[in-house]
């Protein structure tokens, strides 16, 4: 089947190595570009190196937890969308995450179609957001040149 959809640049951050490996294979199989990190700090480092469209971020990780990482992403890379991966007992934390600026959350084990849909929504949201930022920049630029 030919998919006409654009590939999404995804960064998966989760300490469950096997999960990350299999999920990435599956996402790549669905035509997306995937990078991985096994803890919050290397996830943030990967974003500093090159931004992506969407970060799939596990909430419960040793070291920096998901919410801390989310906050850091929203400061340094505000346009990058974050989808939180939550376990059974962490839905409350997911709600906190949404208030902190996550785009959405999915419960593990996730339904793949649902996940793909959310990834696409997040990417579209980012594209829309970027467009508005560019327009605003252009307007600001015009105002400035008008002042001169």
């Amino acid at each position: 089947m030919l998919k006409m959809k654009l590939p999404i640049d995804i960064l998966v951050v989760d300490d469950e190595k096997d999960f990350v490996e299999m999920l990435s294979l599956r996402l790549e199989d669905a035509g997306h570009r995937v990078r991985t990190a096994f803890d919050g700090d290397s996830g943030l480092a990967a974003l500093d190196e090159a931004e992506c469209d969407v970060v799939l971020l596990d909430i419960r990780m040793p070291g920096k937890d998901g919410i801390t990482v989310l906050k850091a992403i929203k400061i340094d890379h505000p346009l990058v969308e974050v989808i939180l991966l939550t376990g059974h007992g962490t839905v409350d934390t997911a709600v906190e995450g949404l208030k902190t600026g996550a785009f959405d959350y999915v419960q593990k084990p996730a339904k793949f179609d649902e996940l793909l849909e959310k990834l696409e929504d997040a990417r579209d949201h980012r594209a829309e957001h970027e467009k508005r930022v560019r327009r605003a920049e252009a307007r600001a630029l015009m105002r400035h040149s008008g002042d001169v």
Partner: protein, 379 residues
């Protein structure tokens, strides 16, 4: 009203035919007249035609499930007491069953003495009910509160379990999904498919192993046996645990020293078997915390009212942010496969049951002390 019989008349309901007939015979041997049914509708028919005091009812059955059967029994025969049998996966269902007023529940695999005890308790409840409605009402309320309390802590644990089991489940789910997408592609060659199968099956198998370990540990946790209380010599216990752990420790360059503070009365009344399990757990943790080269002290001390065993290590100590969480079920910093995060949770449960407590003195960078504090007399 006719006098109640001397022994409870039992109806056993479970869809596993062999289980029902074997258990039925064993109950008969214990002097409990037992009828059996292998599905809900049959059970309800039997109850309409036969006097029964206690129903032992499996939660999970094809067709009409245990909860529905329970609901109907309570509707038609409110005085019959019901003991539910649940698998460990059905605890949430068991919780639901509480609303319909079962007497108590047992986790499968069932141990006969326990089951007989529960049946007899339920029977006493039923006889009592015939004696004095009011007293029984408060009594029943209390009983329900006890069950509710037990189930709510089980509920908490069940939530942790669900979370822990979901992790391997997520691995299995992604592996299977990926494999399906590889297999569904027409361009996939046979050798590609074989390699993919190999890779995905590896992940699936190790995820299953992990889930099994979690469920086994949970069962051990849930089935902490009742205490067998007698006089225990803490000095001898410490020495025994020192012996048991010294070899593994020595391999990592760690020395274990057992010591009794001068003037200590080492004798207490407690459960030596369970204390040994706790102490072994604390010492093993200390050894693992040190990693390589160090010293673990097992120090027996205390005063007239309380006895103490300290497990002192000179490892790195516990990071401040973890101190609060070390007793949480499933909290672990060990690598996947090395620890389940249940050791300290179980240990604390045991020690509290024995009337004592576990204290932690954390010295980040210098080591850590876990102190077992036990009453000299139980209760």
């Amino acid at each position: 009203m006719t006098d109640p019989p001397a022994r409870p008349r039992v109806l056993l309901v479970d869809d596993e035919v062999d289980f029902v007939s074997t258990l039925g015979q064993r109950l008969e041997l214990r002097g409990l007249p037992t009828l059996t049914a292998t599905n809900g509708p049959d059970a309800l028919d039997i109850l309409d035609d036969n006097p029964v005091d206690v129903v032992v009812l499996d939660v999970r059955m094809p067709g009409m499930d245990g909860i529905e059967v329970l609901r109907r029994i309570k509707e038609r025969h409110p005085r019959i007491e019901v003991v539910m049998l649940t698998g460990h996966a059905d605890l949430e269902t068991a919780l639901e069953g509480m609303r319909f007023g079962f007497f108590d529940y047992l986790t499968k695999p069932v141990q006969l003495p326990q089951l007989v005890e529960k049946i007899e308790d339920a029977f006493r409840r039923r006889c009592g009910e015939q004696a004095d409605e009011h007293e029984v009402f408060t009594d029943k309320l209390q009983q329900h509160m006890i069950v509710a309390d037990r189930l709510s802590s089980l509920g908490e644990l069940a939530a942790s379990i669900a979370h822990e089991i979901n992790n391997p489940l997520a691995v299995i789910s992604e592996s299977a999904g990926w494999l399906r997408s590889v297999a569904g592609r027409e361009s996939t060659t046979k050798s590609e498919l074989e390699a993919s199968c190999e890779r995905a099956l590896d992940k699936i198998e190790s995820a299953i192993d992990r889930a099994v370990r979690i469920s086994h540990n949970f069962l051990r946790f849930a089935r902490a046996p009742d205490a067998i209380v007698r006089e225990v010599d803490l000095g001898a216990l410490a020495a025994e645990v020192g012996d048991l752990t010294s070899k593994t420790a020595a391999n990592a360059g760690i020395e274990i020293e057992v010591e009794t503070k001068p003037g200590t009365d080492c004798s207490i009344v407690s459960d030596s078997y369970q204390l040994r399990q706790v102490l072994l757990n604390l010492v093993t943790n200390a050894v693992q915390a040190i990693g390589n080269d160090g010293r673990v002290g097992i120090v027996v001390g205390g005063d007239r009212s309380e006895a103490q065993i300290e497990v002192v290590d000179d490892g790195p100590g516990i990071p401040e942010e973890h101190v609060e969480r070390v007793f949480e079920p499933f909290f672990t910093t060990k690598e996947e496969g090395r620890g389940t995060g249940l050791g300290l949770a179980v240990s604390r449960g045991i020690v509290e049951k024995l009337g004592g407590r576990i204290e932690v003195d954390n010295r980040p960078g210098e080591g850590c002390t876990f102190r077992l504090v036990l009453p000299r007399q139980r209760g």
